[in-house]
Structure formats: C-alpha cells, structure tokens
C-alpha cells in the first residue's frame, strides 16, 4: 500500500528525490498538526475532565461548552508567562532539552501506520526496520530529560534527571524484548507488515470473529508491554522522575513559559506514541469494524491515554529502589521468559 508521502507525491505530481522530500515534508506537517491537536489541545482538557471524573469533581465547565474554550485560555496563559532561565543554567543544553523531548516523540510517529481516511493511507514512511526505528527515536527522550535535569543547575532537577535515566534503562529492555517476541511471530520489523498479519482471524465464537491481534495471541506479553510502557512514559506508578511531593517536579522544576509547554507537550506526545506502539504491535493497528481505520487508531491511542490517567488517579507511586528492583528483577526476567517461550512455540509449531 502506498504511503502517505507517495500519495501526496503522486497527487501533486512531485517526482524525484526532491519531490519525495517535499511530499514528505507536507505529509509530516499534516500528521504533526493532527498530533499537536491531540496532545496540546485536546490532551490537557481531556486530562482535566478524566481526572475530575475519577476524583468526584466537575473540572472546567465555565468557558465554552464543556469548558472547551479553556484550551484557548490555557494557551494564552502559558505562552504569555515570563521565561525564567536560572542563573548558572547550561545554556544550549537547557534550551535544547524541551525541543528534543517533543521532537523524539514526533519522529516516532513517522513510521506508525495510522490507518486510512477517505482511502488515503496515513503512514509517512514504511521502512523495513520500522519497529527498531520507533524504539530508537523514542528513547532519545531520556537524553532530553537528563539534559534538562543537568543543565538546570538545580539539585531537584538533577535528581529527576538521574531518576529518569535509571528508570528508562531499566524499562527499555523489557519493552524491546516484549516487542521482539511479537517479531518472532511476524518475522518482520516492518510495521505495516506487523499490522497486516494481525488481520487474520484467530478463532470464531458464535459468529463473532476474534482477529489475531497479538494482545489475544500472547496476552502475557501485552500486559508486560503495557506495564513497561507505563514506566517508559513516566506515569504512575512509575512517575518518579517528576515525583511532585518528593523532588518538586524533577527535571522540569526550573522550566517555565514556552519551555514548560514544550516539556508538557513532549510528555503527552510520548504517551500517545506509547499508545500508538501498543496499538500497532498488539492491537491490530488501525483495524476495527465499521469505522475508518484512522478513527479506530485514534480510539486506541486515546484508550491508552485514559489508562495512564486512570493509573495516575488510583495507584500510588513506587519508590526509586523498588522501581529499579521491579524493573531488573521482575520485568526483565519475565520478558526474557516470554521471549524464550515464544521462540520455542514459534520454532516448534509454526
């Protein structure tokens, strides 16, 4: 199936490497805008409403219908704030960190097959190493957090940055290993191919066909993946790099105004990217009945967003040493066990 870039190129008659570049640029702008709409506009509003529902409150309801116009007010408020840069901040690093965080998540979306809308396939690029690429770019986020934490010249930021590294290293490995167990089934790293292989029916019960989504084929891996993903995006019970009440706000303590917005945005984008990876690898990507693929894809990543907010409202945070212990002694062992078992099953029966 033609990628979004190809579609744009052929529609506008762009040819050659230059044409593909321009087409890719246009496509990326469109996809990026959609994502920013999710994360910067709908995200904070939805977060308020969801958290309020969990905690017996009403949340925003005065500005516009359902308080939707609070988004505008929020944007104006955040952007009009003074940008305070602490004395002794390590300048280029301090400025780069927020942008890098948001960029690393946006880059990940380049290869995610987001389904089709009006017959147009919304996937910017479809390299054969798609899965590896996604994990590689999304882990750049860790560097951004360390940069921000270290460059802020603040002890709380430093602690937060260090916590972020410790946490991401501990949870990146189980995350990738669990995804690798899916690759054993598919035999490919190409994301469109992984999605395609999940469209086959797994079994049929009373006329309802259950598709071969890897969440159904290997639910154990799916649960592991979700848990590791939760740590990867830094949400409860694994929100220790931020940990308000302990280290104030961790790596973002000293960030204000537009830099803070970028950090915030980056975090939301990472949640959505985490949801997108989970949807692509385990939930059949954009697959679903009746509605167009892109709508299903949107529903799936929002479901993951809802899950993170639910966890945030209901689950306490673990301690840093406990987190590392769970990561290295629990998740890592389990994900290796999962990988080996899957390998044995795939080798013996398929």
């Amino acid at each position: 199936m033609a990628t979004f870039t190809d579609t744009i190129a052929s529609t506008f008659g762009l040819e050659g490497p230059g044409g593909v570049f321009i087409a890719g640029f246009i496509g990326a702008a469109i996809i990026g805008t959609v994502l920013l709409l999710f994360s910067a506009v709908a995200g904070p509003w939805a977060k308020r409403k969801i958290t309020a529902a969990f905690t017996d409150r009403i949340a925003v309801n005065r500005v516009g219908p359902f308080g939707l116009l609070i988004i505008v007010a929020d944007a104006v408020r955040l952007m009009s704030k003074e940008l305070v840069i602490p004395e002794g901040a390590d300048r280029p690093a301090f400025d780069l960190a927020p942008a890098l965080l948001a960029a690393s998540a946006l880059l990940g979306f380049a290869v995610i097959p987001m389904g089709s809308l009006f017959g147009v396939n919304l996937q910017l690029a479809d390299p054969e190493t798609g899965l590896v690429y996604v994990f590689a770019v999304s882990s750049i986020a860790t560097i951004a957090l360390v940069m921000g934490g270290y460059a802020s010249a603040n002890k709380y930021s430093l602690l937060g940055g260090l916590r972020a590294v410790a946490q991401n290293i501990a949870y990146e490995i189980p995350l990738v290993l669990t995804a690798a167990s899916v690759v054993l089934f598919t035999g490919t790293l190409q994301l469109s191919e992984i999605v395609a292989q999940q469209t086959e029916p797994l079994l049929s019960v009373a006329g309802v066909t259950i598709p071969a989504w890897f969440a159904f084929v290997n639910p154990f891996a799916f649960v592991l993946f979700l848990a590791a993903n939760m740590a990867e995006v830094g949400r409860n019970p694994f929100d220790i790099p931020e940990a308000p009440t302990e280290i104030v706000a961790g790596y973002q303590t000293e960030y204000s105004s537009i830099y803070f917005v970028l950090f915030y945005l980056g975090e939301f984008l990472h949640i959505f990217l985490g949801g997108a990876i989970a949807a692509t690898v385990f939930l059949g990507g954009p697959a679903g009945p009746v509605l167009p693929g892109f709508i299903w894809f949107t529903i799936k990543i929002w479901a993951f967003f809802l899950l993170t907010q639910w966890a945030r409202s209901a689950i306490p945070r673990v301690r840093i040493d406990q987190l590392i212990e769970i990561g290295w002694k629990g998740m890592l062992v389990l994900s290796f066990a999962n990988l080996i078992l899957t390998a044995v099953i795939v080798g013996a029966f398929l």
Partner: protein, 553 residues
C-alpha cells in the same frame, strides 16, 4: 509513690506524693505548689541528675514540656514531667536561676525532647542551658537581637537585619571537595512540607544521611498574644489558630481545661456532652485531612483518595458550621461551657450528623480499598519510617504517632475530662511503629470518634429540656490568685496539647505556655528518616501529620 487515680480531686497528688527530699538528695531545695500535681524546686546545676532520677527511679518517663519564664528577681525553668502509663501522676521540676546570669543545666542528655524545648526557652526567654548539645535559636531567625519574652526586652528595637549579614543557609554544609554527599534544602517552599517547614537534608545518592528540621517560619507569638488577653473572652479565639486544620475545638478545650482548673470553674454536664461531641467532630475532620494529605505524599498528586478525604471532611465542616457558625475558626468554647446550644431546629442538626455517621463506615471501607489494602501502598509504607516505642518516649511523642508505636497513651481515657469516661469507646494502638501503622491508627480513630459522637447525640436527644445548661456562672472578670500555676493537657488531634498558665493576680495570665504535640513529634523525624530514601522521608513527614501553625505557634 502514688499510683492512685483520682480525677475528681487531682490536687491530692501533692499530698500523697513522693518524698522528693530523700529521692533527690541535696539537689532538692523545696516544694512548689501546682494546681494539679506536685512541684519540686531543685538546684540549677543538678537538673540532669534530678530528671534522670525521677525518670529511672520514680517512673516519670514523659517530659511533656519545658516552660521558662522571668520573674522580677529570677528566671525559672519548669520541666513538666508525667508518666506514660498514668498521666495524672505529675511532677513539675522548677529550676530557679539568677536574674543576672541565667544558667541552668540542660536535661537534653536525659530526655531528647528537652533539646528543642530548651532551645525554645533560650530563644524566647533567654535562659542559657549548659551542656546542651546545640543551643541556638529555634523559632526566631538566627540574627534576632534579644529574647522577646524576657522582661528587659526592648520592644521598640528594630529587628531588620540586612541581607549581607544574613546567615547563608548553606554555609555550614558547603560541600567539601572529597565529599560524596549532597546538601539539599527541602522547603520552606516544597510540595511535601505541609506548610512552611524547612528540612536541611544531606543526601547520599537518594538516601538521607542527615536531616534537620528548621522551624519558626510560622511563628506568630501566640503565647505572648495570649498573655495580653483576658481569661474570660480574649484568649479563646487564639487556640483555633494553632492547629488550624479543622482541629480548632480540640485546641480550645486545652485552654478551657487549663483555665477552668486554674480558676476552679465547674462545667455543666450538658455542656460537657456538647464539648465532647464537637471535639470529636473536629478530630474526624483533622484525621481525614491527615489521611488525605498522607496519601497525597505517597501518590504524589491530588488524586482520588485526597479528594475523597476532602469531600468527607467537607460534610463535617458543614456540621460544625451549623453548630458554631464558623467553618474553621470556631471560637465555640467558653470558660464554664460552650457559647450556645445546638442550632434550632435540633432535629435537623441530629439528622445531618446522623446521616454523616451512617455513611461513614462505607466511606472508610472505600479508604481501605483505595489505600490501606493497596499492595503498592503497603510496599511504600510498611516498615518505613520506623519509630520504636522507647525512642518515641524519649522524644515525648504523643497522639496517634505514639499509639502507632504501641504506646497506650490517650489522655481522653488516662486523664479523663469532658464526658469521655462515661462513654463506651476504645483507645486504638498498633505495634507496627511504621508509616502504615500511623495511617491505620488514624483511620480506626475515626471509627472510635464516630462511636463517641453517636453516643453524645443519643444523650443530647434525650436530655430533659429544662436542664440544658450550656454555661455555668462565671464572673465577668476572672482574676485567679497570684502565683497560682497549672499545667494541664488534653488529647488534641495530634497528641498531648498542654497549657501552662501562671496567674499574676490580674485578669490576664502572667505566663502562658503552649505545649504543642506537633512540636515534639516533629523532633523525632530524623530518627524515622535517616538512612531511608527521600520518598520515605516525605512519607514519614506526612505520617507525622504536623501542622506548622501548631509547631511554630
């Protein structure tokens, strides 16, 4: 040694008491008279020996407070000692020192809790304690000039100290080249300090190597303000401002009890029931807030459990508003009773309160579902912030914190006042001594308080209409005899809230000293937190449930 409990006539203790002269040897100078309890005057250079003898040989293992004051011809430090197993057995060790050079031996090496209390006495009154491990100001800034509660203090002296000469808060902790620890200021502005508390923390990686609470940011001269108010009306509003997190009525009771004992005022039974009921409502409100904010420290965000706690507290706030006319600053007690009866129509008030009590078990069930039976929560709280019973006693820890360390000490039962001794309820204790136990104790105490309120409501409903006396006859101007002294305490939300009053023959107290439970409890924080991780330090602080308004006064 008297172990006899006789709450109706507490003054008998003085007569049946110990033979202090033979017990204390040549440190003994004479007896002093206190309204409830013994008083013994001792030599200033033998304080440590005296309190040690009293603790080890006579069993006075609880140093409630240290009061310092200045007379015309001398300074005086009073060590208020009692026993954890029988708080009605009290002895006040009076240590006079010369007016020209007030030097007195420190008791901090015998009772750890004396450390902070003596620092406060030094800070405000100006008595120098020799052999004190770390005698410096505690409530006022390091740069303060003079001792504001001494008689020769110049009230008009400006206290503005320029920024240059301000002590650098990091000075003493400046990192050495070789050191691999990090000094971290937690607070005074930090999400977990529950007010303005400053923790000077030394971290080794993520572990706490050393922590020292720095208090005084909320010092409002409450003692001095009380000394400038008349007994009858002007002091009562102040207690609401000590532990301001919904525990106002419990604080008011501390003052009411001390002043009533001092001036020998009877309280009608009906008023006692009203007092008991309203005080327990306050206790529930204070404990739900404590549980909510503790959960906030563990969860790290304003999550469901915090909001649930606030929601339930709000209902009590509403009930208290109906009763007292105020949500927080109740000013409901009067000497000799309460200010007014239940709001009319009484039935509506009973219904409102009973509805709340009916729903409470369900709410508590929800709390247990969400927090105490949550595995991750247990992972965080069980066996962290451990405070063993003997250490707790050394620090004069009281209230839910002491009861969670297995110390069976509750003044409502052990030193009965109000209507408590005629109601059916239990003192909750737990042997865990950790953060988790402190949470459980608070949650169970809410249940016990609900039981007390229920019984009070039954009593109030059936009370004959012509016998509803809410206040006894108290003279408009109270002038207790000069040099009459009393130290008496009640079980407030956070523990033993004691008041020492010395009358000087006028209608205002000569000395008014507040023994804050939070003050003593907070001092034990380093014991709980050192060697633990930063999150456990925060959890331990949350489980102590301090209110800075009461710590700093």
């Amino acid at each position: 040694m008297s172990t006899q409990k006789d709450p109706d006539d507490e003054a008998t203790d003085a007569e049946t008491g110990t033979d202090y002269e033979s017990l204390l040897g040549d440190a003994y100078l004479g007896d002093d008279e206190f309204v409830n309890g013994d008083g013994v005057v001792v030599r200033a250079d033998a304080v440590a020996d005296v309190v040690q003898t009293l603790r080890d040989e006579a069993g006075y293992d609880h140093l409630s407070a240290v009061t310092a004051q200045q007379y015309e011809d001398r300074y005086e430090s009073i060590y208020h000692l009692k026993r954890y197993d029988d708080p009605t057995d009290r002895v006040n060790v009076v240590v006079p020192t010369a007016a020209s050079d007030p030097r007195s031996q420190s008791a901090a090496n015998v009772f750890r809790t004396a450390d902070w209390h003596e620092r406060e006495a030094y800070d405000l009154v100006g008595v120098n304690y020799e052999d004190h491990p770390d005698l410096r100001r505690i409530l006022l800034p390091e740069t303060w000039q003079g001792h504001p509660m001494s008689r020769d203090y110049n009230q008009t002296k400006p206290q503005i100290v320029t920024l240059e000469s301000h002590r650098n808060p990091l000075e003493a902790h400046h990192q050495e080249e070789e050191s691999d620890t990090m000094f971290l200021n937690i607070g005074p502005h930090h999400p977990a300090t529950h007010g303005v508390l400053h923790l000077e923390t030394v971290l080794d990686g993520e572990q706490v190597a050393d922590v020292e609470p720095d208090i005084g940011y909320l010092h409002r001269c409450e003692e001095q303000m009380a000394e400038h108010g008349t007994y009858r009306y002007q002091i009562m509003p102040y207690p609401d401002r000590w532990d301001y997190a919904s525990a106002g009525i419990l604080n008011e009771w501390a003052y009411a009890r001390a002043a009533e004992e001092l001036a020998d005022i009877e309280v009608p039974e009906y008023a006692q029931v009203m007092r008991t009921m309203s005080a327990e409502l306050c206790r529930i409100a204070a404990h739900t807030l404590a549980v909510g904010t503790f959960a906030l420290d563990i969860y790290g965000d304003f999550t469901a459990i915090f909001m649930y706690a606030m929601r339930d507290r709000e209902v009590i706030q509403k009930i208290l508003e109906e009763l007292t006319g105020q949500r927080m600053m109740f000013n409901y007690f009067r000497l000799g009773g309460v200010v007014w009866d239940l709001p009319e129509p009484r039935d509506e008030f009973f219904e409102l309160t009973r509805d709340f009590l009916e729903e409470l078990p369900e709410r508590l069930e929800e709390y247990h579902d969400l927090i105490s039976s949550n595995e991750i929560f247990q992972l965080r709280c069980v066996d962290t912030g451990v405070l063993p019973a003997d250490v707790a006693k050394d620090y004069g820890v009281t209230g839910p914190v002491a009861r969670a360390s297995g110390i069976d000490y509750d003044l409502r039962r052990d030193d009965p006042y109000g209507y408590y001794d005629q109601l059916d309820w239990d003192v909750v204790t737990d042997d865990g001594a950790d953060n988790y136990s402190r949470l459980l104790v608070r949650l169970q105490e809410v249940e016990e308080s609900a039981k007390i309120i229920e019984q009070c409501l039954d009593l109030l409903e059936d009370w004959p209409e012509d016998d509803r006396t809410i206040q006894s006859n108290v003279p408009r101007t109270l002038k207790p005899e000069a040099d009459k002294e009393v130290y008496s305490a009640v079980e407030a939300a956070k523990g033993e809230l004691g008041i020492y009053i010395r009358a000087d023959g006028t209608d205002k107290p000569g000395r008014f000293k507040i023994r804050s439970p939070c003050f003593s409890n907070l001092q034990s924080l380093p014991e709980m937190a050192e060697g633990e991780y930063v999150p456990d330090l925060v959890a331990a602080l949350g489980s102590l449930d301090i209110i800075l308004g009461e710590v700093d006064r």
